[in-house]
Subunit: 301 residues, 4 copies
């Protein structure tokens, strides 16, 4: 259970007292506010605040286009038009603030998305909790033999058991030593900023993360993708469901044009055009490298 | 009057229908929402949306510092501590979205603040209105004779009258020609994206501008400063009053540490220490350049 | 002629004195350094400095992938792989610094690319030159009747002549009045920061603009595109030729995957797959909006 | 020794072949190029590339100010003026690319500086080396008793020995287990992206880090500060020495106005003015909080 009874009580209290506002309100997001969605074994994602809704995207676009925009008759059509033509600024007019609890090695990937605001729990200042990510057995995958950056088959019986045992005992031992170094019983206690270096990267940290909708879509496209590491993908999937509740029109356009879309190179366009004319195109006649051709065939057969 | 009756009616309608939310609410900002504050002769600033309040800054900071932060007993003390030590990330957790109408030459300065989101009215897409900034007589200042980047005395009688007449007649003529080039009566009409190039830079444009509180404070420090050009300073002053209503604790800390503060060089520190010991320090013995010494004396006499 | 004899002499002097360096050197870019390429009637682009080359992109990527990357045998293959999979960070390791002279209305579009560094000529501080963009007759296009944001047919005889005459005489008059307001003969002279507001947006300004290669590619994709306004596209085209000389492998990958590529929505993928199976897909059975279908047919017929 | 003989040979080879360039050259930085400066027990910093020099800062500033800038007669005066008045854009015209090897917990602090470009060694893709940061005995400090975020006295004999023993044996054991999980002898071997989670945060990683001079100064001001954690401060100190060799005029201005400077709040200004008039100001009459007063007295006695 990622949340303590105290935290649950706080959430219920925050949800119990609605207040009046004149701002844009997304009913879908109000239903989400503060509630923690469990991710992995001890992690969670929850919405702390949001700004804007589908109408806010449309409104910002209409400021840009002025009276000239009247011929796009409805909001969904305009939002799809913006997404299709990479007009990103209206999507930047919405903002989301999340509270996320996540393993450090996931946080290290996540933070590479620079256009966001972050307040992370400081292990220099405070003491981390004894919580580590231990993968579920079905996630204990072997190194891929075809892709340096991927997973292969799930580990079987004994090897899986051995890995799990190592991860668990190491995490426990490292945390024991962390506590032993910090302890001030009969000693001074090592500085927190030093003791933390002995903790493994599957320990959980937490942060507030604030991002605009355009950059959030970029994050989701990369991290909810099948090639992303499973442990960050589950966070992205969870956030994607929240975004669908928040800005349903924008999310549908994102699904159609980004998540479900592909980018074709000029070579790939050429191959498809030849195929459409009935030509049989092969790896050899495609002009593509092996890798490109393999990826092309994954989509087009 | 910067707003049309239609726009005023829209604002009243938007303000007439409060809705329930579970988010942080700033009463001071709710009172501001949508209302247009006139700036210059045809411009305005109005708040379209906001995220967070003073408590949200504190909350984000406490995520970072964890249990270790309990000894700072109150919110105002913590906010002042954050401001004093340049801990900017908690201030980034608040966000403000404004609708601004402003002359193009002001927009050109404003846009240099890159960490913000903008949707500007597109003169490529739509036709600009016939509205130009014509300075009030008391703003018709001469070029400063001591500062290449500043204003001197206000122009007197005839010279002022001549300047005003030129500005007014030129603006009118340029707009007449803009319309003449665009006109499709008996002709094709020049493309909007070309015709706009004939407009002077005191024509008004408008945009939605969204920024986080940290970057907004940076904007205000530079643009509400006495050395900023008057025509952007009045916008900054107007926004500063809104921020004071929105996050009063953070704004007071900003006023004390940034707007009302100064930065001393190591040479300036040295001079002050010598003065405190009773030494008479002169331009010659200060080790400063003429410019530095003049600026030092402006503060310290 | 956009350059004065003094400026040409400066350029020759700068090119006359090669120095030794241990840094990565791009021979293609060395040949470009400092030389001004004319753009529009008075504008130019020239390279002031650069950092990195194709090998620097590869080197940065190999730091990320470590020993695991050895199986991609050559530099071009690796660069194409990076481009195809949107691995943008190695491209960020190259940097370009340009000196650009351009009309203000072009500068206003350009500056919206925020991830770049800019030092613009200050009309607050100094006096602008009497140089205005007057379109060549073949660029005097009518407003498009199908696209709010585009150009239609070129204006013919009399209408073109009338527009040119207006642009020329207005520019001249506005500049005369600018000078008259600034003049200190027998008067104080209006402050520069005020007088500039009377200048039209086809006056030329100039700036140093520094950007990394990833963000430059993004700029080129949007601004060298057929839908970009002609007056910024000619700058983008000019810069594209420089980039081809600088990092030829990266530029070829960019051309293939970005400039010459297309993004397909999930609906478009579905339509193409149906076509590949021999089905006749129409606007009605495509599931697309009218606009999407039109754009789809532009590529696929 | 942080570098292998192969790496040293590569560095010597890179330094052995100077080439001709027309770009700005900083002799001070040429002497640094590629050479690794050891930091901590296994880390290093080395310069891979740079763009610009002191003259480039001046040149960019003169583009902005145009002919109006002639009255600032020399380069050093202009650079000091820019630094004093927070004119940051000319400093952004210089760029530095470093290769850094550093412990993960240091990398986690470092990466919070978002305005930079990074290519980090990927433990998803490749296998990390067996190298851990083990503090020197004089760095084994106790938790500060007055500052939650600081170090107190150095640990003495037995406690220090116990901490060192724990850090060393834990690092060794974790790395053994990392290898055991990855091993493909008689088993499939756990995916690298999973196995890495068992490594402690004192393991070394490495990256290419590219940043402009303005943002680098900001990094140095925060990280070369006495309140920064020792383990990142030694990197900042090392980089500061490189910057002094690269752009000596800019670095001197930075030292005077930023590193050696202080920011005074309006309350602090008031207290100093009262003192200059001979008044005795105490904590009680200062209007400051306890913390502010303590920090004020640290500077002013």
């Amino acid at each position: 259970m990622p949340l303590t009874p105290d935290q649950l009580a706080e959430i219920e209290a925050a949800r119990a007292t609605p207040r009046l506002t004149l701002r844009a309100v997304s009913e879908g997001m109000e239903a989400e506010l503060y509630r923690a969605h469990p991710v992995l074994d001890h992690g969670f994602v929850r919405v702390i605040d949001y700004m804007g809704d589908d109408a806010a995207i449309v409104q910002a676009a209409r400021v840009s286009y002025g009276a000239g925009t009247k011929h796009v008759s409805n909001d969904e059509g305009l939002i799809r038009y913006l997404m299709r033509h990479w007009h990103s600024t209206p999507f930047e007019m919405c903002e989301l603030k999340l509270h996320v609890k996540l393993p450090v090695f996931v946080a290290r990937q996540w933070i590479r998305h620079r256009t966001a605001n972050v307040n992370e729990y400081s292990a220099r200042y405070s003491i981390l909790d004894r919580e580590f990510y231990i993968p579920a057995p079905e996630q204990l995958a072997a190194q891929s033999t075809v892709n340096n950056q991927g997973r292969g088959a799930v580990l079987a019986g004994e090897e899986a058991a051995r890995v799990l045992a190592l991860l668990k005992s190491d995490a426990g031992q490292m945390y024991d030593h962390y506590e032993a170094m910090l302890s001030t019983e009969g000693q001074q206690g090592l500085a927190r900023e030093l003791a933390r270096m002995n903790l493994p990267m599957n320990i959980y940290t937490q942060w507030y993360w604030k991002v605009d909708l355009h950059n959030l879509f970029h994050f989701l496209r990369l991290r909810a993708d099948a090639h992303a590491q499973y442990e960050i993908r589950v966070y992205a999937d969870c956030i994607a469901r929240m975004v669908a509740a928040w800005v349903p029109l924008a999310f549908r356009a994102f699904e159609d044009y980004r998540m479900g879309g592909v980018t074709l190179s000029s070579k790939a366009i050429d191959c498809l055009k030849r195929r459409l004319k009935g030509e049989v195109v092969t790896a050899e006649t495609s002009g593509m490298s092996k890798g490109e051709w393999r990826e092309f065939c994954e989509v087009w057969g």
